[in-house]
């Protein structure tokens, strides 16, 4: 009597573990990369989705970079390279190092124009060699976004696109976060998340608060 349900449960678990199976809200995705913040993990059904594109919409240029720090630190420490493409300012090495990022596995890509930035991002996402690739760019066309989404899917990478303004509403990104400045860190709102309910709001602390 006891063996049958447990076998059935194992079969169900195996089924649920398949990436293509949608399991409703409130469950963790098997391909999620933890964000390093329990509240954010909960809001994103486990973390940043691997093999997909996530959008970080900041209220100001470059705002929201700190959300990526734990992900960058974990990936680079594990020897999986990460890349920052066309960031608006200089990613400051001492702060990155202090946050635990293994700088030897981090590439800083500064293309001359937008086209090169998109090309480089696509190449790196598709290669499957990078754990995560973060691009700073004006909002993307739906067709460009789909290309990057496809590239991330092919390479099983975490693709992150940061904009200073909200892009078109028909985005294909799996996750979309709105980030603004708050007195003690960042105010984060989940505008969309595949596999989780949107609308969650949370405070994200300052990195190693001064």
């Amino acid at each position: 009597m006891g063996a049958v349900p447990s076998r059935a449960a194992a079969a169900l678990d195996a089924l649920a573990a398949m990436p293509g199976i949608w399991r409703g809200f409130g469950r963790l995705r098997p391909d999620a990369e933890p964000t390093g913040n329990a509240q954010l993990d909960a809001a994103l059904a486990g973390g940043w989705p691997a093999g997909a594109l996530s959008q970080v919409v900041g209220s100001e240029t470059g705002l929201g970079f700190s959300l990526l720090l734990p992900l960058l630190a974990r990936m680079t420490q594990a020897g999986r390279p990460a890349a920052l493409v066309a960031p608006p300012y200089i990613p400051y090495a001492p702060a990155l190092r202090d946050a635990g990022v293994a700088l030897e596995h981090l590439l800083w890509i500064t293309p001359k124009d937008r086209l090169d930035a998109l090309w480089a991002t696509e190449q790196m996402l598709r290669s499957g060699l990078f754990g995560t690739v973060a691009l700073w760019s004006p909002p993307l066309d739906a067709s460009v976004e789909r290309r990057l989404q496809l590239a991330a899917e092919t390479g099983r990478s975490v693709g992150i696109v940061s904009h200073a303004h909200a892009g078109p509403a028909n985005s294909v990104a799996a996750v979309r976060l709105q980030v603004s400045a708050a007195p003690d860190g960042l105010q984060v709102e989940v505008l969309r998340c595949r596999g989780a309910r949107p609308g969650a709001q949370l405070r994200y602390p300052l990195p190693r608060a001064a």
Partner: protein, 464 residues
Amino acid sequence: MLWLCIHLPALPLEALAPPPDSCVAVAEPEGARRRLVAVSAAAAARGVQAGIDVPAALGLAPDLRLLPRNPQAEGQALETVACWAYELGAPVTLAAAAASVWVEIRRSLRLFGGWAALRRQVQRQSGALAYTVQYGVAPTLAAAALLARADAGLARPLTRRGEIHAGVANWPLQRLPLPRDVLAVLHGSGLRRIGQVLALPRDALGRRFGAQVPLLLERLLGRAAEPWESYQPPAVYRRSLELPGGVQSTEALLFPLRKMIGELVLYLRARDVAVQRFNLVMVDARRGATALEIGLLAPSRDAARLWLLVRERLEKVALPAPALELRLEAERFESAPMPQGDLFGTARHGEQLAELQERLAARLGAGAVRRLAATADHRPEQAWSTQGPAAGAPQPPRPLWLLPQVKPIPMPRLLGPPERIESGWWDGRHQARDYHLAQDAAGRKLWVYRELGSSQWHLHGLWE
């Protein structure tokens, strides 16, 4: 000795690398006339053959493009084939006049484990050659060349000197590498087969045609020593390719370039080295040369990898004027990387990563693909670099973003105590600044400073 002769019947044409499917022929003056020495497949399809003279050829195909012979290009092509042959055995020798390369294979035969294995090896390798080749195997250079010109192949080698006579006796007289007039006289005397000539007394032949003719026959049979010089790949690699008529679009350069990259790789393999840096020069009539320096992260001799890099670079190049000549030059070589796989494939992974970084750098520019490093310096501008050691004493928290240019701002809302950063008097970049965590009207956390003794605030970084 057992020589494998590699003969290039279409060398005069293929050395010039004309675009595929073009109707071209290479012509050479002979007395007052000009005769075709090689024709392209497209020209051959119109009935144009090597050996006919130019007016006759133009009668058959009025749009036929005629190119003069280029001995330098033919020499380079033969050197490439010689490099290729190095993978089959050694020594290697070549003769431009015979459009042939020879490689000694008696020892390799043992190494490869017999004829079948050697044939497979030749077959596998021949894909790397951009030339039409014919093979012949015999114990003397002359006999091997005779067999190669007749396209005897590898299936029927003559392996002992004693076999040569019987092997070629029944062949037509015209196949002997003798001057045309000598052949005409022999033919006029009623001789038709090589065997009939070999049967003639040597001293009589010598009196009639000079000492060269009997000597050649003795060498053919292995009864007289053959002079040859071992070919060594030169220490510096320089190849050039003329582009008749000029080429404006970089796309049209891809075909000849691919061939040149393939040849560079053959050279690298022959010398058992790899290349990390090489130059591609496109020479035009007006403005001189467009030079591209192609750099790799690690030495390589992988044709696909080198080719991908060159193509990526070329996509970004607009030629100021039609290119008349392509040059590929490499002066420094590294020892060849050992192909090694470890249990978890991390070596392969690192290689792929290096390859991807090279492609990024090729297209975006070398300065656009960097690694960050933190350096042990208190001054914020000196505390980061794109290379160098990552060590350093612990410092107070630092912002995530650094502004490339410091920006003067009105006094912001300060959030914390100052951090005095004073350093650098020893290298002339003295700094004495008070840094603060601050906040702007929108609530954004700023990293600001004021020079000691000044009231002007500057924005230097952002925290999130």
